[in-house]
Symmetry: C2
Subunit: 214 residues, 2 copies
């Protein structure tokens, strides 16, 4: 049985936001936080914070609030980032290389242990900031995923290549996908996919700025 | 008056998704689409598609559906991406360079016309894939933003530097911010900010994969 089958998706997403905020507070030397302070920092009400956290247990104490390090540990455990997630990255272009160099992922427990591309001119090349990884041909995915115990696939290829890469990842045994290609992937029901479409975030800001100007 | 003051945020976000899907369909040579087909491609109901689009006008025809190129034009006009948005990027690290090289932004009308950094060792250096841009000192933001007619600021600096960069951007006249730093920005009410926290997308997939394993 899933542990948190009844928890709404938006609550899970906010738990990530709470965790990020708590980590920032802890770095700044803060030991306790109230639901109001946590909510204010993220633009949600204190009632929402309490309701969200209540899905996972009883963490706060009336009049004291939440102990920051305890809540961080709990949130990491709930989200699964208290363990290490081994990931395969397909696409070693600019975005792929940015992901390899991005320390924020490693800090969250995500370790890119294989980088694959279909561009023959870069295969075998060592990647900067990657602990000595070299680019592998994308065709080796079926061997690499089980051999390296990979559970997460990261897609950073152009849109037309994304679906075949996703299919190959899932055949190879990848359990969840983070997709940076600007295209909706077609995967079997229940396969976790998180899509990050950079252009959409820009569009949303453009829309709001255009609204302000009118 | 804002043009679409009564349109819910989720509808605006889905309009971006519809547009992406319509563009893919148009590239594939498709001329018309029903609300059911559009919804199926994105995992929403046809009723939701019709309801969302009805906020902006009457686009479809019963029995025929929507004309793809017309709906693309309309969505771009509504979202504001039929115009060019001049942007300043602060942070010329890996992620910043990935954004410069990412053609998807230019296709959506976003043009990075200035790149700034505080690292003295890279200032003045020309950037690859950037149409000859060179890195400027971040302290020149107050001159660069008005001189280059910049409306959008892109933050791709480490978390502790993000807030001062945002403050400087807004003082310089930037109207909206796309923030890649994993920290919640504190901006005056009404300033459009879109936050892209890569780690959060990874966390959400990890959570779901962990759920499947239990």
């Amino acid at each position: 049985m899933p542990r948190y089958a009844n928890v709404p998706g938006p609550t899970i997403r906010r738990l990530s936001l709470y965790l990020r905020q708590l980590e920032a507070m802890w770095s700044a030397g803060r030991d306790t936080v109230s639901s109001k302070q946590l909510g204010d920092a993220l633009g949600v009400t204190d009632a929402q914070v309490r309701k969200d956290l209540a899905y996972f247990g009883q963490f706060g104490r009336p009049g004291i609030g939440y102990r920051v390090p305890h809540l961080i540990d709990q949130a990491r455990m709930i989200l699964g980032t208290d363990q290490t997630w081994r990931a395969a990255l397909v696409g070693a272009g600019n975005l792929g290389r940015a992901l390899i160099a991005y320390r924020g992922l490693a800090r969250k427990g995500f370790k890119i242990v294989a980088v694959l591309d279909r561009d023959a001119s870069i295969i075998g090349r060592p990647l900067p900031d990657s602990d000595g990884l070299a680019v592998l041909p994308v065709s080796t995915l079926p061997e690499v995923v089980p051999a390296k115990n990979i559970r997460i696939g990261i897609i950073a290829v152009p849109a037309p290549e994304a679906q075949p890469v996703a299919d190959l990842m899932l055949q190879a045994g990848v359990q969840g996908i983070v997709n940076f290609a600007p295209v909706a992937l077609n995967v079997p029901p229940g396969v976790p996919v998180s899509a990050i479409d950079l252009a959409i975030h820009f569009e949303q800001v453009a829309f709001q700025v255009a609204e302000l100007a009118d």
